[in-house]
Amino acid sequence: MKTLTGKKNLKILGLASALGLALFGLATLPAAAGGIKLLNVSYDPTRELYEDYNKAFSAHWKATVGQDVTVSQSHGGSGKQARSVIDGLDADVVTLALAYDIDAIAEKGQLLPKNWQTLLPHNSTPYTSTVVFLVRKGNPKGIKDWDDLLKPGVSIITANPKTSGGARWNYLAAWGYALKKNNGDSAKAYRFVSDIYKKVPVLDAGARGSTTTFVQRRIGDVLIAWENEALLASDKEAKGKVELVVPSLSILAEPPVAVVDRVAAKHGNAKVAKAYLEYLYSEEGQDIVGRNYFRPRDEKAAAKYASRFPKTNLFTIDEVFGGWQKAQKTHFADKGVYDQIQKEGK
């Protein structure tokens, strides 16, 4: 018994000192770097993009203005990140997956003006992406377009649209395709999308999770994914094991960026935060975008990386669904179309 308490005391001592060290570390961490500090709160797949871009922007700002800028990044699910900002995470800029999430920051957090999307060019989206398919090497199930997904014996991997922003783009891409194919008949589009979700064996909570399920767990015949994620997987992570298939029609995914005015003003970072986002549209910024598998807006950069991004027909969410607010309300809110699909026949 005595030795036991002795051990326990030691354990507690160890824990306490570890805690103390951690607190000490936390306290000293922010004080280490000098100059301007900027926080960019982003979503999951942009990690590599902003690692590259932050270095370039710091160099650019030092060269033109002469100040040191350190940009920190925070990544996570788009919706979760937006909620953190609403609840007080000190983001100077946000670069998220959907306009809906930045709308929420404007509306519920009142941290930036409601017309934020008009303040920067191209709907405030300096880069775009789209929704494509990833299939096994050699495309054994012969998947070329959306209709092939419904072939018997094909199992589909996509994430849960209720929890993943990327999965919402996937859903809307399928819906938009079916709508166009059936001349705008929404009952037929409902049938098509419902049939797709019947063939999904796993609904991961996030887009990265479903990529893991498909690539690492080797479950499913086709992954519906962000183009940048699919390119990253087929070019680097799972080279030689998976192939990219671009459907005949897909959605133009526009992940928007915005300055969080109230926070940036409080930090005295308004000017540099704005410049940070504007530089994304510059020649160098657009080149970094293309290098990191996002589609550049700038034509020169787009031409340079054209071989990466196969040409296909793209529709926007505004054209087909009347914007994010409306799409969210109709399709993804509780008791919305997606919920009806899931409850059908059960």
Binding site: M1, G79, N160, V202, D334
Partner: protein
């Protein structure tokens, strides 16, 4: 004979500190009751009560029909059923095998015992997401164990069984660590005496050991159960998150938050809290009643 034996170790069971002293109205050995109680109340308020009441306040923005509408939704009801059933199943499995693990660690000396002993704590230390990914990798149909189970028709990953496996993993240390000290305090001489008086091994286990460890086993199992109910990180990777099939309540809460539906999310959370609290209370009462019954014999 048995009466004295049974109550002695039971009184040392964890979770009931300081009670005998107060009952007998001895002046406390350590002064400062007022100060420490004040600190305890303040501390509990800051850490537990205030955040929890914030949950209830948020949920109280809803009217009664709205609340009923949310919690009687088919999808939500399924999730409640899955969460409670899998948590209970995992806690029971842990009750049996956790006791076994604790027994082996306490009663036998063998090389590598210290290593095994610290391994029990791993589920505490590991980030639950890592646990979830690891379990999923092993139990998916392409994983080491999953590939063996697939041919005999058992699918673990992406089924309720997978949820139970994840919950067993995270709940194991609770049972082992609550039962272990009690087993350590059990006198071997008593068992030897029982043997010399002609008791069989089964009799010793059922009449001597089990009653002694029962209170701590109850505590361990209910802790494991409570922990399992709220688990999110490890489960979402292995469950597959299919609506009406493998969706757990925490996932429902997250998907409501994803729509910025704070009231709806907290409503589900409150129902969850009330249900778990009543269940834990019931378990506690049952434990007291069982303890009283065995003492009365």
């Amino acid at each position: 004979m048995t009466e004295a034996l049974m109550t002695a170790p039971a009184a040392k069971a964890p979770g009931k500190p300081g009670r005998p002293g107060r009952k007998k109205r001895h002046p406390s050995v350590i002064p400062g009751f007022g100060l420490t109680l004040g600190f305890t109340v303040l501390y509990l308020s800051l850490v537990v009560l205030i955040p929890l009441s914030a949950t209830f306040i948020k949920a109280s923005h809803l009217t009664w029909p709205q609340l009923m509408d949310i919690v009687t939704d088919k999808q939500v009801l399924y999730a409640f059923r899955l969460s409670f059933l899998t948590a209970a199943a995992a806690a029971l499995v842990n009750g049996v095998f956790g006791l076994l693990v604790a027994w082996v660690l306490v009663r036998y000396k063998f090389p590598g015992r210290g290593f095994l002993d610290s391994m029990v704590d791993l589920p505490f230390a590991l980030p639950t997401a890592v646990a979830g990914i690891a379990l999923c990798a092993v139990y998916a149909e392409t994983g080491w164990i999953g590939a063996l189970l697939e041919p005999i028709g058992i699918r673990v990953a992406y089924t309720p069984l997978g949820v139970i496996v994840a919950l067993i993993f995270i709940g194991l240390p609770f049972v082992v660590r609550t039962v272990q000290p009690v087993l350590e305090d059990l006198d071997k001489e008593v068992e030897e005496a029982a043997t010399s008086l002609g008791a069989s091994r089964l009799q010793i286990f059922v009449k001597l050991i089990l009653p002694a460890v029962m209170p701590s086993l109850f505590t361990g199992v209910s802790l494991a159960f409570a922990r399992a109910l709220g688990e999110y990180g490890s489960v979402i990777f292995i469950s597959g998150n299919m609506p009406l099939k493998t969706e757990i309540v925490p996932l429902i809460i997250v998907s409501k938050l994803e729509q910025y539906d704070y009231a709806g999310a907290t409503a589900v959370a409150c129902i969850m809290l009330v249900l778990s609290f009543s269940l834990l209370l019931a378990i506690n009462l049952l434990q007291k009643w069982a303890g009283g019954a065995s003492r009365a014999r």
